[in-house]
Symmetry: C2
Subunit: 134 residues, 2 copies
DNA sequence: GTACGGCTTGACGTGGACGTCAGGGCAAGA
DNA sequence: TCTTGCCCTGACGTCCACGTCAAGCCGTAC
């Protein structure tokens, strides 16, 4: 199949496929007219890439999965290097989620304090605070 | 004070201050030599900006806080528009954290499945799965 | 005199994953 | 023959918050 068909099957754009090729991630054969030609294996690799990108993986992080498929393995994550990427990503996600949760709490505290100050400035009695710490 | 001193006091760079001025966020007076001049109020505004940026706020989102300080309020979050930004940010953080948690679970499942497949391919008996769903 | 430090403006570089446009080729259908 | 549709390459644009470099001015210390 040609580039337009593959792009449509994978729900992406031809520009994206040319970009992946320029990165050496998804090279294409060429037909007599110099047009890119793909097969079912390419579709599988592309779908693997898109799934991981939807998870927030960077393009380079998908390379082990693609290489794994190209090596003939049944799935992109059948290889140790792919599992290593999974584990790194899990750790990264855990760190990020924890960090965001911290920020969330800080922002929530700022908001509460500012709301309390606003109420007090409006003449309301200082509201009792649960678990006052000082 | 001049730009270098302010930058150091706030732990940032002169380039950053010029950038903020170009965005209309932190305009500066000029002295006889055309050098930028700042005062304590500017330092407070700058610190407000940096705190919010550390929280992950975009630069534009800090504008209501700066405007609030400039209007003479005791704190950058003493104004309704600042509180609105806080609330929007909390909702955004909640959404993002939830999304990341979903992704984390999906990646974790992919990893477990791939590990199980690898063990099985290695000749181990299929491990019993807790809470099998199908 | 001159070296130095701080300041000025202007403008290009960074990163990631593409979007978009320009200019051109090739084949099939009306 | 002309249009339509798909493809090609090359190259600039996008977003955001700056980093970095260039060229030059000004005051001060040596």
């Amino acid at each position: 199949m040609r580039i337009g068909e593959l792009a449509e099957l994978a729900g992406t754009s031809t520009r994206t496929l040319r970009y992946y090729e320029s990165r050496g991630l998804l090279p294409a054969r060429r037909d007599g007219q110099g047009h890119r030609t793909y097969d079912e294996g390419d579709l599988r690799m592309l779908r693997q890439i898109r799934m991981l990108r939807d998870f927030g993986f960077e393009l380079e992080e998908t390379r082990p999965f693609v290489d794994c498929l190209r090596a003939g393995h049944p799935a992109g994550d059948s290889c140790p290097s792919s599992l290593a990427v999974y584990r790194r990503k899990l750790a990264e996600l855990d760190g990020l989620i924890g960090q965001l949760a911290d920020v969330r709490e800080q922002v929530a505290r700022q908001l509460s304090a500012a709301e309390a100050a606003a109420r007090e400035a409006a003449g309301e009695p200082a509201a009792p605070r649960c678990e006052m710490t000082g």
